[in-house]
Subunit: 212 residues, 4 copies
DNA sequence: GATGAATGAGCGTTCATTCAT
DNA sequence: TATGAATGAACGCTCATTCAT
């Protein structure tokens, strides 16, 4: 009755396996996010990067925040799984520490873009303070558990408080990653990576001080 | 008889010392930035917070980027001065380390908003990769210098590479601050602060490991 | 072994009598229209309400305009048939008037949603001026015919112009309905309805004035 | 720091008396509304019609709804003032009725676009059911007061309920306007208008029926 | 017939920036 | 200097419409 919007052409491109699209969009979002940051990441960019129509992104993800949350949760879940596995409290502390650093650096080696997004963008830009806080506490909690068990086994110096150690380890890990992201550190090969990891772990275990 | 156009020429408010305005705007920018984050900080917010006309912000700072650059440089300069003083390479390492951590936590105690801006907003969200990188390298450079001198004096374990130690210390400092910002740590009094600082320094110096 | 593409060919649901679908969609459109108004009525809403696939609505009705036209025409046709029957010019005016008002209020009693759509949405919001005008003229024409015959039989005061009477009667009927829709009037039972109807007819026949 | 939006030119056209702009926008909104209806009225249309930049409409009115609310409230306030004055309960009913109809038709004569907006668009399209209802009740309340006083003075037939009379009068007035809007009635001159008004009032006072 | 993924123009809203006064 | 009205590009989101299956 009232004049509708002008009819516009439309077409569903055939060849694509349908549900692959969702993944393609997610991957595109990761790339754009890595390239332009949270606030610079426009929905149109994601669509273009995914080779997909604007509206399709909304079809799958509802809105920008939901999309980026999804990007983030997927990455974070995987990341945390690795962390938890490495921070197995029943393993001797030195071994656990090396494993932990390796997991983190490995993640960087395999998917630098995704890690960059995790570290530099979403964990900070999105979701507000409370979200960031939850994540911080989640990972610190895992690390703290590891230190508490280690202390119970007498592997920790008495003066070291588990909570503080966890916070500092978090800092060390994050900064190692930041150094990767910023280019100061870039373990391209497996041996390089292991050397870097054991350096970090060593320093963390025994401190920097020569004097006992 | 005809309606006159009402135009208040809006002369400069008498009571205001002219150049104080600039500082007021800068301070307002810090507060807004702390409250709403980099991207949530609108020029109009800053103007309102400063109790100043919209256009005046542009008078003094040209544009949003320049304003925030200025906010940042001011804070960062002060911060770095403190860091440099504490990281005096000729001081014994343990002492220097404690001083360093104290400077950082003190900054937090005195101006939590400004530090929050430095840590969570500008250093990360804004300025693009290259800017962040420059800052990271600046501070890591200072720390590295400290470690190199310490090593020359034999205060460092041989296995510890100064560059890596610097990166990790940066991480520890940053994370200590992050913990403050996120509320996990909040040294309200001087003694509390010193206890936290020496805990960080201790751990960093001697590691977490009980085994020699 | 390779993941098969999952594609349910989605054959026509067995239980559904094929052309019933069309009616289901129409009925759904009425409900959605009543609930959300013309502009709030999305094609997807209609499809969901009808329990039918998105595209099917287009299969049957081509586009939104056509769908709503159809909804409207169906309702309007039925409504006008009732009006015409009641406004039988050969019936004595008072009787005709009461019948007319009854038809209108009855319609409301039986299908308040459909009437709400007719009165508040389509007749006003949609279709542009010309459409509304056609409808107005159609119904006024019928009423005018009734008054002209009544006048020919000497049932009308000489001073009353048939056209004006028709317009005013239209207004009275419409407003009675509007009062129903808005809740000021709500004849839930048959006796209530008849009392309301005869009140309207009475007032219209004899005016409000005590003085002759 | 982060790249700001590209700088775009801007200019405040000088010659215009500043606060006149607001009125110009309001007037433009009335025209666009009259032309295209509530939902067809785009903010860009209003801006263009007012000869004003897009953003300025938001500067003055905040958002579309607020703009149209303002348009509406202004018109409605004026309209209701006229209604209240005419429906003075202390005036003899016939006189009051004629005055009432005259006010309504006069409003139409002077500002057909504004009235069209009042009657056909805003009172229906905007604000949802509850808003419409409030307006309906406001005007019916005024009319009802008039009828109740008239009844107290014995000017009303005993059988006529004031509330119902008010509703029907509302209908008569509205439909008279609708007839104007739709072109069935168009009192261009003062005498024409008075004739139409007294016709409506007469019919309402004495009914259509010849039989006593 | 039936399905729903895909398309993209359009609209409301924001906000950095300019400039007449 | 100081003011704040004026500008308009940009972006998130909606939804009518199409079409491969």
């Amino acid at each position: 009755m009232a004049a509708q919007r002008k009819r516009r052409p439309a077409a569903a491109l055939p060849g694509v396996p349908a549900a692959e699209r969702e993944k393609a969009i997610l991957a595109a979002a990761v790339r754009v996010l890595a390239r332009k940051g949270y606030h610079g990441c426009r929905m149109s960019d994601v669509a273009r990067e995914a080779g997909v129509a604007y509206g399709l992104v909304y079809h799958y993800f509802g809105n920008k925040d939901a999309l980026l949350q999804t990007v983030f949760r997927a990455g974070w879940g995987q990341f945390m799984a690795g962390i938890r596995a490495a921070a197995d409290p029943d393993r001797p502390l030195p071994e656990g520490l090396v494993a932990l650093v390796c997991v983190v650096l490995e993640a960087w080696r395999r998917e630098p873009e995704a890690v960059r997004v995790l570290i530099l963008e979403i964990a900070r830009g999105a979701g507000g303070r409370s979200y960031r806080q939850r994540l911080f506490e989640e990972i610190v909690g895992v690390l703290r558990g590891m230190f508490e068990r280690a202390r119970a086994r007498g592997e920790l110096r008495a003066a070291v408080e588990p909570k503080l150690a966890a916070v500092l380890l978090f800092g060390a890990l994050e900064t190692a990653l930041t150094a990767c992201v910023l280019g100061s550190l870039s373990p391209r090969s497996q041996p390089e990576l292991e050397r870097a990891a054991s350096g970090v772990a060593e320093t963390f275990l025994h401190g920097v001080c020569a004097v006992r």
